[in-house]
């Protein structure tokens, strides 16, 4: 009887108070033939045994603590300051519910307000929500917001093939029941060519920078073009929305999408102090302009004043949300990623203005050092048509899965986790590896990768 506090005597007193003889009598309204099925589950474990089993399962996996890792593609290994886990481990944060009673939830509410503020600062936008599930679902919610901004009249959604392939799939999952047509990513093409397809029936254009290939897109004057091409014939202030998907760490260094005129900025918040965790829980960053706040999905925290004039925080503009508006809500989202948003807030606070810039620069310089060295290897070359941040494309002499197997199994004394095989999402990109380098990769690790690749040639 794990986690159940009652004694036998207490149980008897309670049953008596209810007026039944047995606990089973509390379930008499459950159809008898379905009651108490025999479940085929293993016997319960003690805490010690459970820990041993879980340790075993953990140990089987090859983790990035034992092994140098050069894999990114939407999830990145970064250093997480100790203070992050300290704060999110506190029971007062971890075991609280959604802050429906603001008087006893000011901790959660203020932390989310600070999160929203930092995301606005980072992205250069007016309003950020309390977060979505991850970068992919934030992108899907951006499409739905754009669709709602135009009262479902504009049905065309343009998405670049350089947006994360998983995000493009999730956008399609989310919109399959809506009359939305998603185009633009049938093939890889320059943004200029994509923009030629924008017209006054286009709800939004989705671009990513750094894009999935690690390249920095030049967004200057792009918003103007999207807005002009997608202008409403009758209402001059209505125009196609520019949605920018971004990596928050890159914004420590780079001009924020808000400065370029983006209407919605989304991104994967995992790099902001969250572990890799085999894909989740992550954090969907979502920010927009003030004029679109009523169509925004998800929770928002705002300032308020109490009966004594003291300042505090509440959930606000809740009439957009499902628990109030039901079928007419802007989304069905009910939670946010509360604890993950808190982790990102603590991360951004602990690093601060200077630290985030430093992390971004470390990523940039290390990635460029790695790219320069790999580019110099015979048989390998790095795609350098556009500037990049912490990830770049390497053209390899052989298939990437073959090369990765070699890095993992055939290099002496080390198991190197290589980059992403681009042919998995872009069949024409055979022999192209997407390599990510972060502040976690020491020079020694990078050199180890380079030496291993060089040795592969000579094999």
């Amino acid at each position: 009887m794990v986690y159940l506090p009652h004694t036998d005597a207490e149980r008897r007193q309670m049953l008596q108070a209810i007026g039944v003889e047995t606990i089973a009598a509390l379930f008499e309204d459950v159809p008898e033939r379905y009651r108490y099925p025999a479940l085929d589950l293993p016997d319960p474990l003690s805490e010690l045994e459970a820990l041993q089993e879980l340790r075993y399962l953990s140990d089987i996996n090859l983790d990035a603590i034992q092994s140098p890792m050069f894999l990114g593609a939407g999830a990145y290994r970064h250093w997480v300051p100790s203070v992050v886990d300290y704060v999110i481990s506190r029971g007062e944060f971890a075991t609280a519910y959604t802050p429906y009673q603001p008087e006893v939830s000011q901790g959660t509410l203020q932390a989310i307000f600070e999160y929203q503020s930092m995301i606005c600062d980072l992205t250069g936008m007016d309003v950020a929500n309390a977060s979505h599930y991850d970068g992919a679902t934030a992108t899907a919610e951006a499409v739905i917001q754009a669709y709602n901004v135009f009262r479902k009249k504009r049905k065309k959604v343009m998405i670049s093939a350089a947006v994360h392939p998983h995000y493009r799939e999730v956008v399609r999952t989310y919109t399959q029941g809506l009359e939305v047509e998603i185009i633009g990513d049938e093939k890889e093409r320059p943004i200029s060519e994509l923009l030629e397809l924008v017209d006054d029936q286009t709800a939004c254009v989705i671009l990513q920078t750094p894009n999935f290939l690690g390249e920095l897109e030049d967004l200057a004057s792009l918003a103007d073009e999207v807005h002009t091409r997608g202008q409403d014939a009758r209402k001059a202030d209505r125009h196609t929305l520019l949605v920018v998907v971004t990596n928050p760490i890159s914004l420590g260094l780079l001009k924020p999408p808000g400065d370029y005129g983006a209407d919605i900025v989304v991104g994967e918040g995992q790099p902001l102090g969250l572990g890799l965790n085999f894909g989740g829980p992550y954090l969907g960053i979502y920010a927009t302009r003030e004029e679109y706040v009523r169509e925004l999905a998800g929770r928002l925290i705002g300032k308020a004043v109490d009966v004594e004039g003291k300042e505090g925080f509440v959930m606000t503009l809740t009439t957009r949300e499902q628990h109030i508006r039901r079928a007419r809500a802007t989304s069905n989202i009910c939670t946010n990623q509360g604890l993950m948003a808190l982790a990102a807030t603590v991360y951004m606070a602990a690093l601060g203005k200077h630290g985030l810039r430093q992390v971004a620069e470390l990523n940039y310089h290390k990635a460029h050092y790695a790219a320069d060295r790999i580019d110099a290897l015979k048989g390998f070359s790095v795609a350098r048509a556009k500037p990049f941040f912490n990830e770049f494309v390497v053209r390899c002499p052989v298939g990437v899965s073959e090369l990765n197997r070699y890095l993992l199994e055939d290099v002496a004394d080390v198991e190197i986790i290589g980059g992403y095989d681009l042919s998995r999402a872009y069949p024409q990109r055979r022999n192209q590896m997407l390599v990510a380098v972060t502040e976690m990769n020491s020079q020694a690790e990078i050199d180890m990768l380079v030496d291993a690749l060089a040795a592969y040639r000579s094999n």
């Binding site: 159940l4 207490e10 049953l15 209810i18 509390l26 379930f27 459950v30 099925p37 589950l41 474990l45 459970a50 340790r55 953990s58 996996n61 090859l62 983790d63 593609a73 999830a75 250093w79 300051p81 704060v87 506190r90 007062e92 971890a94 075991t95 603001p102 008087e103 901790g107 203020q110 989310i112 600062d121 599930y133 994360h164 029941g177 030049d218 780079l254 001009k255 890799l276 085999f278 894909g279 829980p281 705002g302 300032k303 109490d306 009966v307 300042e311 628990h323 508006r325 809500a329 069905n332 009910c334 603590v346 951004m348 606070a349 601060g352 203005k353 985030l356 500037p387 993992l408 986790i417």
Partner: protein
């Protein structure tokens, strides 16, 4: 005292945690792309620790005391779950590393799928959905696609009882379908006549929560399922209240075609102040091919003696993926730990004690508070927060006064079909003392309501802030820190 916003602790030039020095030659930065300023706070590590610690102290939490929010299942979050979820082989593995280097993680995901299949009575499970609401979206999209694939293109309607969670109708709209609401009958069940009147060939399916949000078992569940199946529709089970039935009844056995589980409710993972949740979805045989991909499967097993090899697999007619990677793996580790510690017997006992505690608390207050239906409840019950002798006292006043007494209020104003609803779910992990204490407070407040109603109207009195003006906050929203 209010804790300042962290920006207000900032001092120009102050630095937080230290980063390593650059150990490679620097490259040229792309000057035309660089940002000019980054207005994040400048604070030291101790500032960060004290700030967030002081904020944390302004929260109520399960770790502090009873938190009986109805339909939220605020049970104890075991501490071992946090230890296992932080093992390096789980936290430091990349979602895209080759599956042969992550067999421990895939085994865990596969096993969670298998356990949930067993507990729910389903043929297939996906653990991908990030929350209950996303599980609902998956379920409704699957039901619709199933009909479309059979050429049943006229189906566009989801039936939703009026006691349903707001996510049910919101999910339906998000899926491009129409919602028709079904009233409840005098015993708190779905009204069968009203349901019958809406049965037609446009029905995609019904979304039903069982026990429903009144905390009552749907006594006609078999008839309801039959009615929907007879018209070719499917039945979606909202698993938010599964804590009442785990190990007692398998929804799949009753004919539920698809259902989401809330691991953050039934399976003890922490709510985190509003997430991350996790909403795996179970389906009957005819929907297995529609599951959002990927699911984990045994790829290759040469013989009984060989270790199985686990891999990701895309179901043939999948509605597509729901999240960027494989869902909330870190939450699955916690839920797996919990399920391993409970086993079948522990799960059944958890549900039994959840129902025992709810009925006991109900028995201790029902002479003072009107309870919605005179029936045995399941894991929660709904009381009405108003008194004849104190006509201007409302559920909100009672909720706020509970805070003064040092406990967390129940869910209030939900379900919508009960006036001044107080929806109370104690959960199985509360002791008799803890429930007795809560009952005594509820009874004391009922007395205060007549003796000194102003005490309730003005509550709470001793919190960091008192009642906040939400109307003004929404009229003139301030949603971020304003830089000077």
């Amino acid at each position: 005292m209010n804790e300042p916003v962290i920006y207000e602790l900032s001092a120009p030039g102050r630095e937080g945690v230290k980063l390593p020095h650059l150990d490679v030659p620097a490259s040229d930065l792309p000057t035309e792309l660089l940002r000019e300023e980054l207005p994040l706070p400048e604070v030291s590590e101790i500032d960060v620790v004290r700030h967030f610690l002081r904020l944390s102290q302004q929260n109520y939490a399960i770790d502090k005391g009873m938190y009986p929010l109805g339909s939220c299942t605020m049970k104890f979050n075991p501490k071992i779950n946090e230890v296992t979820a932080r093992l390096p082989g789980f936290t430091s593995i990349h979602p895209l590393q080759y599956t042969n280097t992550a067999q421990g993680a895939l085994y865990l995901m596969y096993t969670v799928q298998e356990y949930l299949k067993e507990v729910g009575g389903f043929a297939g499970v996906t653990v991908q959905p990030a929350a209950g609401a996303q599980g609902e979206l998956a379920g409704v999209l699957m039901m619709h696609k199933y009909h479309l694939d059979r050429g049943d293109t006229q189906r566009d309607t989801i039936l939703v009882p009026d006691s349903a969670h707001g996510t049910n109708p919101a999910t339906t709209s998000m899926s491009g379908l129409r919602v028709v609401q079904i009233p409840s009958d005098a015993r708190g069940n779905v009204d069968l006549d009203a349901l019958q009147s809406q049965i037609c060939e446009r029905v995609v399916g019904l979304m039903i929560t069982n026990p429903n949000t009144l905390g009552l078992f749907e006594e006609q569940i078999e008839a309801v399922v039959k009615m929907i199946h007879d018209c070719g529709g499917l039945v979606y089970g909202d698993g938010a209240n599964m804590n009442a039935l785990m190990g007692v009844m398998r929804p799949g056995d009753v004919g539920i075609d698809v259902m989401h589980f809330n691991l953050h409710k039934t399976f003890s993972t922490p709510h985190g102040g509003g997430g991350p949740g996790c909403g795996p979805v179970g389906v009957a045989e005819h929907l297995v091919d529609y599951l959002p991909g990927p699911v984990v499967t045994i790829d290759l097993q040469l013989s009984e003696e060989d270790a199985p090899f686990f891999n990701f697999y895309q179901p043939a007619k999948s509605i597509g993926p729901l999240t960027g990677f494989w869902g909330h793996f870190g939450i699955l580790v916690r839920a797996y730990t919990y399920m391993r510690m409970l086993g079948a017997e522990g799960m059944k006992e958890a549900a039994e004690h959840a129902v025992l505690n709810a009925n006991y608390l109900r028995s201790q207050v029902k002479d003072v508070y009107k309870v919605s239906h005179d029936r045995l409840c399941k894991h929660e019950f709904v009381a009405e927060g108003h008194f004849d002798a104190a006509p201007d006292v409302r559920a909100l006043d009672i909720a706020k006064r509970l805070i003064d007494h040092g406990v967390h209020p129940p869910t209030n104003y939900f379900p919508l079909i009960v006036p001044e609803a107080l929806m109370i779910e104690p959960t199985e992990t509360e002791s008799k003392q803890s429930i007795d204490n809560y009952a005594a407070i509820l009874r004391a407040i009922a007395t205060e309501a007549t003796d000194n109603p102003e005490l309730l109207h003005a509550a709470p009195h001793n919190t960091p802030v008192r009642r906040l003006d939400e109307v003004s906050a929404a009229r003139d929203p301030i949603l971020r820190y304003q830089h000077a």
